[in-house]
Subunit: 217 residues, 2 copies
Amino acid sequence: MTSQTIKTSKTRIKRVPKRGHYDFETISKILDEGLVCQVGFVVDNQPFVIPTAYGRVEQRVYIHGAGASRLIKTLQTGIDVCFTVTLLDGLVLARSAYHHSMNYRSVVLFGKAETVTDEAEKMTALKAFTEHVIKGRWDQVRSPNPKELAETCVLSLPIAEASAKVRTGPPIDAEADYALPVWAGVLPLALVPDAPIPDPRLLATQQLPKNIRTYAR
Amino acid sequence: MTSQTIKTSKTRIKRVPKRGHYDFETISKILDEGLVCQVGFVVDNQPFVIPTAYGRVEQRVYIHGAGASRLIKTLQTGIDVCFTVTLLDGLVLARSAYHHSMNYRSVVLFGKAETVTDEAEKMTALKAFTEHVIKGRWDQVRSPNPKELAETCVLSLPIAEASAKVRTGPPIDAEADYALPVWAGVLPLALVPDAPIPDPRLLATQQLPKNIRTYAR
């Protein structure tokens, strides 16, 4: 396992370079915490950005969908993709409007999507999607049957030409502004679960499993 | 104010069309709740997807940045942009792996970014950025001075060729699966604030204002 991604003119962080990270550990941690990615692709010079679920297995990310969807049909042609995951960690409240910011962790990954044709790799990817959303879920639910497996198209991208960008910490105000009578600091934000809503047709005997009861991202 | 956006081949929801919405009210509500947008654009047929902050004023969205940033420099050339905002509302936990899903609200907007040159419109947009992040903040902080105003480039996009996609409600399982002994339902998720972290250099006399203390998205 390589510990650094490939730094290119596309992935090198130009704006505030000290926020750039290129190590596999930082990148994979962000990918594992996120739930939704944004997939960017081009059709007739028109950019499209579509949110979708994803999973990671070692040094590849996987997305999936019905073979009939525009996203999947387009990506299957082997065009260039930009895959982005953004985690918002907090509002950075400065003493001036100008120095307001956000604390975040994001990954931007470039590549060409490959269709997963190997049945075993496909099943591994589907397990990764489910486990990515909620750990332990794969063994609690019915596995995909041959018809469902055939209907699902799985695409993969290598985590190679990728970078992460991370901002942490308090606001950086202009020196003169520190004397202003303004509250400044960080308001942390996190994606937090609320009480689970049982399905209207849930069997009366069905207990809420621990991985849902104690869910945290 | 028109109440419907322009439905085109790009914005028409093809996959699960009943999830598509084209009214300005649905779209603007999602835009106002989100904090981060994803801006997609094309350079030499390569797609880029960059997360950034934004604001809305009536029927336009605004983004901003240093005039030197790649994102801003590229968008200023008047190229096509895809602007996407995604809100994740919950995990949809079905009885089969195949029927797992997410509840979400997303907006996809197409257009060409225009540089805001009018000083008054620029100041209105900057106020919208700050108020979008936290209501009431603009009047609490120091306003942009002429130097900061000159250094900030503001771009706008009309909310015209746009659509929203919304999934709500419980999982939809295959009929035979409803008899399975599996917990199914929705685990709601929300972006929730944690305790504010005062800046290390905060004046000792400075009280936490109500709009931060009671912050909710």
